[in-house]
């Protein structure tokens, strides 16, 4: 978190110092299927975009896709309309952005949640969600009294299994006896936006003894948080800091700073500091973290805070390696 703010402060200072760039700087962003107000992943990007607009006064053209063919079309049309910097949100844009980046070498591209492409005018932001999930796993395991904790994922894709795997590893690091119940909401994109089903899955996990439930399910997670709060149990939020959604009922949130990535992409391009390559955002870079604020202060004991801080140190120093599901498409836990 600190380093993210340091980065932001530095960016703000240099922005103030830099004179306004060439007049033809036109940023654009293509959101993923979830839509920009999903209170989670896309909304994080939206917040970063909004901050960039507030600081520079430059409008960012936005588009939300609804089907596969639209991705490439939207990018091409945005570029035809003069976009010089383009950000794609989510791994679903990977193939479209490759094709468009190849055809438009002068446009500066960025994409979030992708690390495997190779284009000279494309920057890829990849988050180490497994590291952040490990931390909230530690917190969940220490807070749990029943010895059972839960995980509710959104759509069953490798990225979400990566969250689950890091979480399980964190839980098991506290005690191998703690049981982790896992459910995915569905297999279609509607799984990202189904709070009713999210609530049902959380309820069934609570009925089976879970007293802390972590969700990585976008808009579906709203239902998870609500149901656990109503049942007097604890939820763990994801992507954005969701502690405020049910004060005193959300143990913590695994924050994934997509807003930092979105802001950084446009700010760097604006300052003429665009560079291609892969930007890895993990615990060390402030890209993922756990959130403690006034809404969950009373839930997090000193003991838990110390344990999570120790785990964080160990991950950053390399003493603990959190397994990354995406590397071998399997979870050993």
């Amino acid at each position: 978190m600190k380093s993210a703010f340091r980065l932001l402060a530095a960016a703000a200072v240099s922005l103030a110092a830099a004179t306004v760039q060439a007049a033809d700087f036109k940023p654009a962003v293509v959101y993923d299927m979830g839509g920009k107000f999903d209170k989670s992943f896309n909304e994080g990007v939206y917040n970063g975009v909004k901050r960039f607009t507030e600081e520079t006064g430059i409008e960012v053209t936005e588009f939300e896709v609804t089907n596969e063919a639209q991705r490439q079309r939207a990018m091409e049309r945005l570029i035809q309309r003069g976009a010089t910097v383009l950000l794609g949100v989510g791994f679903g844009q990977a193939d479209a952005i490759t094709a468009v980046a190849e055809a438009n070498p002068d446009v500066q591209f960025g994409i979030i949640d992708v690390f495997w492409l190779d284009q000279p005018n494309l920057r890829q932001y990849s988050f180490k969600e497994h590291e952040g999930s490990y931390l909230v796993g530690v917190a969940a395991a220490m807070k749990s009294e029943s010895g059972t904790v839960g995980f509710v994922g959104g759509m069953d894709v490798p990225l979400i299994r990566k969250f689950a795997c890091g979480y399980v590893q964190g839980v098991k690091s506290v005690s191998a006896d703690i049981q982790v119940l896992q459910n995915m909401t569905g297999t279609t994109p509607s799984a990202w936006n189904d709070p009713v089903k999210g609530g049902e899955l959380a309820q069934s996990q609570i009925d089976r003894g879970a007293d802390v439930v972590y969700h990585a399910a976008g808009g579906t997670g709203i239902g998870v948080i609500q149901t656990t709060a109503d049942a007097g149990k604890l939820a763990i939020g994801v992507d954005a800091n969701q502690n405020y959604l049910a004060p005193g009922k959300v143990l913590t949130s695994m924050v994934k700073r997509v807003d930092v990535a979105a802001y950084q992409h446009f700010a760097d391009a604006h300052k003429g500091m665009f560079s291609a390559g892969v930007v890895q955002l993990g615990l060390a870079e402030g890209g993922v973290d756990w959130a403690v604020d006034e809404y969950n202060r009373d839930l997090v004991s000193g003991e838990i805070e110390a344990a999570v801080a120790a785990a964080k140190e160990a991950i950053i120093s390399g003493a603990i390696t959190v397994h990354n599901y995406e590397e071998d498409q399997s979870c050993p836990f």
Partner: protein
């Protein structure tokens, strides 16, 4: 006195859909007005975005291709009074069939053999996916609406477990297969027209469009010019009469559903072989469901379905241009507009039937000296 005179056929198939469309557009215009934009400008952008901008006609026809396949699929089942809500899943599994053929054989077979084989596989897998609900309907009376919806979810589950598992392209984590080689790709329209010297803008429109038109002719011949089609329509009009006439109902149900599923499966030809050139999640994107509205609006006739598909294609493509042009009009607004059109043309299609019929009847019965 209160009985409603029958609506003339020309008014039923021509006038009524146009009136419904105009009402839908008027109500949509109010919605656009409510968010503070000019509805006339919105309509203008939408039309230009659907037909005139560079490459936009290609996109419109590409969407049209999808809707023709799924619309035909719904219509064939509907002629037998079966509501096939499973076009989405049948297209999904059809894509799996085409994809498996390409992934297995694209290194060894030339395109002229491989592509027809993949098309047959798409139809066969789509038909196969419709068979279980069809059999349950024909022999066990399980309602086909329920079972086909359920099979959509099963199809989605099958695709996710395959694409996140054995079929995923190594070295990345987006659940898609590897790309097919060149010979498995159906040529784009710009390539074909470019070869004969006509330059058009890049778009996903490909030869599948021709296949869609051929499918229309096939359905027309099948439903109105074969014994099977006669059996299907008889069953649709009156199951008792069909049974009395000696038509084997279970067999007809299964065959109609198989044809329906096969047509839905062909939608994947456009998406998987024509555009994406790989297997990926969610390429069906709701086209299967929109096919229901297309079929209803097209009065279950191939010509009507082509026109309705063109309308929905233009809505999809022009709508995304609206989203680009106005930052206040989001995709949720577009969904509202599309929903209104489906509501007025599909669900409320016959709302204006009685008043329109009375109006036409009163005009027709006017004395001669008042020329129309």
């Amino acid at each position: 006195m209160s009985s409603v005179p029958p609506l003339p056929r020309w008014a039923d198939v021509g006038l009524l859909p146009i009136i419904n469309l105009v009402i839908a557009l008027l109500v949509s215009g109010l919605v656009v007005l409510a968010v503070g934009e000019n509805p006339l400008r919105a309509i203008d952008i939408m039309l230009q975005g659907a037909f005139l901008y560079e490459g936009s006609l290609g996109y419109t026809l590409y969407y049209t291709t999808n809707f023709i396949f799924t619309g035909l699929a719904v219509s064939v089942a509907f002629h037998a009074l079966l509501f096939n809500i499973g076009g989405e899943g049948q297209a999904y599994i059809g894509g799996l069939g085409a994809g498996l053929v390409c992934l297995a054989l694209d290194a060894v077979l030339p395109g002229l053999v491989l592509i027809p084989l993949a098309i047959v596989a798409a139809a066969a897998f789509g038909a196969g996916w419709a068979l279980a609900p069809a059999w349950l309907q024909a022999y066990r009376g399980s309602h086909v609406v329920i079972t086909t919806i359920m099979f959509n979810f099963i199809a989605a589950g099958v695709m996710v477990s395959l694409l996140a598992g054995p079929l995923i392209k190594p070295g990345q984590s987006s659940p898609t297969s590897r790309r097919f080689s060149e010979n498995a790709q159906i040529p784009d329209m710009q390539e074909i027209l470019g070869a004969v010297g006509i330059e058009i803008a890049r778009s996903p429109l490909n030869l599948s469009f021709v296949l869609a038109i051929a499918a229309c002719v096939f359905v027309w011949l099948l439903i109105w010019h074969t014994r099977f089609g006669y059996a299907v329509r008889t069953l649709g009009h009156s199951p008792q009469a069909a049974a009395y006439a000696g038509i084997r109902i279970p067999r007809t149900i299964i065959a109609a559903m198989a044809v329906s599923g096969g047509l839905a499966g062909l939608m994947a030809v456009n998406e998987v072989l024509g555009v994406q050139h790989r297997l990926l999640l969610n390429f069906t994107a709701g086209y299967g469901f929109t096919g229901i509205a297309v079929s209803l609006m097209g009065r279950n006739h191939p010509i009507g379905i082509v026109l309705a598909s063109l309308l929905f294609g233009a809505l999809y493509q022009g709508g995304s241009e609206l989203d680009l042009e106005f930052q206040t009009i989001t995709r949720d607004m577009l969904l509202v507009i599309q929903g209104l059109i489906i509501l007025f043309s599909g669900a409320l299609a016959y709302m204006l039937n009685p008043p329109l019929a009375r109006l036409i009847a009163s005009l027709a019965h006017r004395p001669r000296e008042a020329p129309a």
